[in-house]
Structures are given as C-alpha cells and as structure tokens.
Amino acid sequence: MTSMLLPPPGSPLEHYVSEKPFDPKSIDRLSAAQERIYLASQWRLMWWKFKRHRVAVVSGIFLGILYISILFCELLAPYHYQSRHIDHIYSPPQRVHLFHEGQLIGPFVYGQKYSLNMETLKRQYEPDRSVVHPIRFFCRGDPYNFWGIFESDVHLFCPAENGTLFLLGTDRLGRDVLSRIIYGARVSLTIGLIGVAISFMLGLIFGGLAGYYGGIIDLVIQRIIEVLQSLPTIPLWLALAAIMPVTWSPMVVYFAITVILGLIDWTGLARAVRSKLLSLREEDYVLAAQLMGASPVRIIGRHLVPGFMSHLIASATLAIPSMILGETALSFLGLGLRPPITSWGVLLTEAQNINIVALYPWLLTPAIPVILVVLAFNFLGDGLRDAADPYK
C-alpha cells in the first residue's frame, strides 16, 4: 500500500516547504511581560526580588542617607565635637518648643538656670521660661576645617547668639552629645565597611585557593581556619589590641582596629567560598568551559565567582553589624579607639558606670544610632540574602 505513495527509486522524495519565513518561537510565544522576566539578567531579577522586601529597601535608604551624611558632619552638627562649654557640664537635653506663651515663634529652646544642689553636689539645670533662644538655620557657629579643603563656620542649624542648644545634653566636659554622635558616625560607620572589605578580600583569596586547588593547600588553609575559629573572639581582639603601642597616633590605631576586626572575621567567609567553589566546580557548565579550553582564571572569574557573588555580598552585609558592635565593645573596654577620635563606642565609655545611668541617662543616647544601624544592616542583609537566589 505504502509503495503506491513513494516515488520511483532514484528520484528525489517529494516534500513540502513553507514559503513563510521561519519563526522559532511560533509555538510558545512569550507575551511582552513574560519576555521581560525570562530574558532579564540575574542582577535585574535580584533587584526585582529585593524590591519586594520593603523593610530591606527602607533600611537600605536609611543607611544610604547615613553614609552620605558622614561626608558633611561638620555642616550637620551644631557644634564642633571638641568645643567645651564649661558653664554647662552635664546639662540635660534641652527641649525644642514652638510656642512661647501661646505665640508661635518657630523652633526655640528656653535658657537654662544652673544651680548646685548643696546636699547631693549634683548640678541642676532648669529651663528659664523668660529667655527664648530661637534656633538659627544656615548660620555661623564654631569654625571648622572642611576635609582639610577650606575653612568655614556655616552650620545647618545652631544656637541663638549667646544661647545654647544641647538637644541631647552635654557630657562631663560640657561637650554637646548630639554633635559628638554626628561626628562619631564617621568612624563607627566606616570601621565596619573597611573591616568587612579586608575580611572579604582575605576570605575570597584563601577560600578560592582552598576550593580551587584542593589537596595540600586546602588542608593547610582548613587547619588555619580551624585554629582561628577555636579561639574565642573577644580575647583574641583584646590580645591583638594590646599589642598596639601606646605611642601610635589615634588615626593609626583606628586603621589597626579595622585590620584586627577584618583579620579575625574572614574565616567564615573563606569557608563559604570554599564550599561553594567545591560544589560549583562539578557543574556541567564548568566542564563545558574546560572543554572549550578556558583557563582556570577565566573559569573562576567569569563563571564561578558570579555564581556565588550575591551570596557573598549578602553575608558580608550581615557581617558589618557584628564589626560595629565589636568596635563598640572594644572601645567600651578601653582597648579600642582613644579619645581624640570619636566613635559611638568611645562615647559609650562615658556611660560605663551605673551612676551615669541613674544621674545622666542622656549619655546612653549614642546607643540609639548603634541599635538602628545594626538593625538596618540586618534587615538589608536579610533582603539581599533572599534576593541572592532569584531563581528560587
């Protein structure tokens, strides 16, 4: 039967050819919306997923604003962080009012009446309702040197002439706590970033070496990591911090502390890099790259690292808060940064004593930015971690 349909032997088979141009996607055509998703790059997908985590986005914006603000703390702080007000030692926070005797004046603070309680020898300050000090904006106050570029004395807001403006009170030398917090952000926020950058680099290098070469290198690096992890962190920090000579300038101490924090923190990251490399090395696409003759450097840099970079960034973000807290703890013990430099940890050393909690609770306020920043980094890190695997 079938032989009837076949052409005679030797002659070409008859077949049908469509005249229309070929469209490979004619069967399952993607809508425009689908195409946008299916063809999006990995980073774009991650961004979409990250955007859904509202709290993480808000935290990211909050941190962004903070990091921008540390560029301009001279401008933002009402006082210079070292200017002392001997008549206002341990002044409580001054409240900002808007109305004076039913009349709108704009933001202002009342003057302060100072008296010494002869029984307890405690300094007492009371608002003096008769003196009104309106807050000035974009005004001239304490002179400062802006990043060593130019001299200026313009502040975003400052106290009235002959008035005071201690929104968060003053410390034992009569220095404005708010200004010191604003200046302290510069050190506290960057210490985490630099420390994480160091540990990130070390983790990538050592984890990469161990994961890619394996064998004896892997064994040695694994042992080093185990040794570092078997020692408790805080004593290790202390021991390393104790090595620093007292003669070092505060700036050098600052960099040394970041290096110490980074040197101890890299082990976790290196382990992560190693295990990721070990598992990704077995993937088919790596084999394909090898068969096509790609060099190890290209395979690691072009194919392997992008595969887990997002995870690394997420875990690095989660490591920053522990560094900030570490600096706070070290400074609190008196082994971290030293006074001419101001950080939130240095500010909190003032609050070491239980009497402070009882008498001058406003000296605890530097803890608030610490808590906020640590929370924000945790939320941001959570969001990044969720977004790190956009295909899930």
Binding site: R223, I224, E226, V227, L228, Q229, S230, L231, P232, I234, P235, L236, L238, A239, L240, A242, I243, P245, P321, L325, T328, A329, F332, L333, L335, L348, A351, Q352, I354, V357, A358, L364, A367, V370, I371, L372, V374, L375, N378, F379
Partner: protein, 332 residues
C-alpha cells in the same frame, strides 16, 4: 565509623599544635613581659625592688631563655597538665581558674537552658506561621536582641533591678557573701542575682537561635515529604515534630560543640560590666596585665574544649544522620 573517629582525633593534633603556637606568639607580641612592667610599677611607687627575687622568678619561669625554648617548656608543662603560674595572683593557674569555674558553669548552664527553652517554641512558631504578624513581631524582637549592645543592657537591667527589687549592684551575690564558703543563704543570694546576667547573655544567643531554627525548619517544611505526610492525613503535630523538625536539627547538633568552651568562659564583657566572679574577667585582666601563663593556658584550655566540642558534634551528627555517615564526612 571507628576509622572516621580515629582520623578526626589525629587531625586534632596538628590543629592544637598550631593553636598553641599562635596563642604563644600573641602572648609574646606585646613589648616587655610581666616582670618588666611589675618592676616598673614598683619603682614608680617608690618601693624597693628585690632584684634577687625577680631574678629567681625570671629563671624559674624561664624568662632568661629564648622565646622558642620557653614555648617548648610551656608546651611540655601543658602536656603534663601543668597550666603554669599566675604572677598577678601568685597562685597556680589551675587553682585560680578552678575557684571560679563553679559559678561560671552555673551561669552559663542556666543561660543555655533559657536560650533553648525560649528559642525552640518561638522558632517553631515563626516557621509555621511565616509572614504572620506574630512572626514579624518575634523576628523584630529577636533582631533587637542582637542589635542592643549587651553591656549596655546589663547596665540598664542592673540599675532597674536595684531600683525595683533592691538587688545589690554588681557581683553574683550580695557583698556580705563574697569570699564566704558556700551556704544555703549564699546560694539563694546567687540565684537572686543570677537572672540579670542570664537574661543579658542569653538574649543575643536566643535571637540568633530563633533565626536559625526558623530558617532550617522552613527549608524542611517546603519539601515534598512534608506535603505528602500532611496530604495522607498524618496528625499535624506528628507531621511537624517527628519528621521536619528532626531533620532540621542538624545545625543544632552541629552547634552543640560550640557550647563546651562557652560554658567555661562565659560572656566576658557582660561579666566585666556586672563584675561577676566568673572566668571571663579573669582572662581579660590577664591579657591586659600580660600575665601570660594565666592568659595563654586558659586560652589553650578553651581551644582544646572547642576542638573536642567540634569532634563531639561531628560524631553525634554522624550517628544521627545516615546521610552524613554514609558520606563519611560532616557537612556543616
């Protein structure tokens, strides 16, 4: 299995040797030694220095030898169970640490127990009610536990305990019991004071434990066998506790090893703020005053405990989880 344990124990030896070398180097790095600072201090106070005694002590502890020789002397002592001598306290390290270890273990044990008791129910609740208000609230509370510097929390709690309950400030007991032999009244006083450090130290641990339990349990709950179990009508409790919870506990068993050194050292900074009679402040003080045998031997002791702890958790994991046993290595 036996071979696996044997291999693990063999690997411990180079690790501990490396650790001891590192610890000794760190101890040696600060300029000078304890005797130099001790002499300088005496001279600053205008007191006469008994040169002969110092020389004798220096010789006795080998400070006239090179650091390498001293390292081997110290190491040899450690191997024979001799932890060395504390210059600051003028007594053997083992006695000094031993006198504080009871309270340390008491506080740490209570802390760990509290951590587990709080973290497990909350972690399971958070995982089974993912993205509910309860989950968000508890997650936030947990994060707060991480974010608040715990020395600060210790200060504030101590203040309010004093104002509200009249608890005496600092220490693990009322001042009149300090240095007294253990008695019922002293024990009660200790219990009265202990809740502050237990809460403060436990808070951060609880928070991270909750997050780990939540994440691990969530992973298991999404797997198909859980869905199958539920679809086949297994009792919800059984479908949660018997299978997913059990297999999500690998991280927990893996972490048991870390508890061992934690119990002995405790949280140092909180202990300093609260001036607790635990080993933590002792260690920190020794590090600061270059009391090197005390600091070094104690650090080594902690490192040994860590390594043993890791070994225990690896063995426990291998026993519990056939996947790891068959693979022949731990997946942590």
């Amino acid at each position: 299995m036996l071979l696996y344990i044997f291999r693990r124990i063999l690997i411990m030896i180079p690790t501990l040797l490396l650790t001891s070398a590192l610890v000794f180097t760190i101890m040696e790095l600060p300029p000078g030694d304890y005797f130099e600072s001790y002499m300088a201090e005496l001279q600053a106070q205008g007191e006469g220095v008994d040169k002969a005694r110092i020389e004798f002590l220096k010789k006795e502890y080998g400070f006239d030898k090179s650091p390498v020789e001293r390292y081997f002397i110290w190491l040899g002592g450690l191997l024979q169970g001799d932890l060395g001598y504390s210059f600051e306290y003028q007594m053997p390290v083992s006695e000094l640490v031993g006198s504080r270890i009871f309270l340390t273990v008491l506080v740490s044990f209570a802390t760990i127990l509290l951590t587990w008791l709080i973290a497990f129910p909350i972690g399971i609740y958070s995982a089974t009610h993912q993205y509910s208000w309860g989950d968000y609230g508890l997650t936030f509370l947990g994060l707060m536990g991480i974010a608040v510097p715990n020395f600060l929390l210790a200060l504030i709690l101590m203040y309010f305990a004093n104002v509200w309950f009249g608890t005496s400030i600092g220490h693990l007991m009322a001042p009149e019991y300090l240095g007294q032999p253990m008695s019922w009244a002293k024990f009660k006083s200790i219990l009265e004071h202990m809740w502050i450090p237990v809460i403060v130290i436990g808070l951060a641990g609880t928070a991270s434990m909750i997050r780990k339990i939540r994440a691990n349990l969530l992973d298991e709950l999404q797997k198909q066998y859980t869905i199958t179990a539920k679809a086949k009508g297994l009792h919800p409790f059984k479908a949660l506790v018997k299978y997913p919870l059990r297999s999500s506990l690998n991280f927990f068993v893996g972490g048991i090893g870390g508890i061992l050194p934690e119990i002995v050292s405790g949280a140092e900074i909180v202990a300093i703020v609260l001036s607790l009679e635990t080993t933590g402040p002792l260690l920190i003080k020794a590090l600061q005053s270059q009391d090197m045998y005390l600091a070094g031997s104690f650090l080594m002791f902690l490192a040994l405990l860590t390594v043993i702890g890791v070994l225990i958790s690896d063995i426990a994991l291998a026993f519990l989880d056939p996947r790891i046993r068959l693979q022949g290595r731990s997946t942590r």
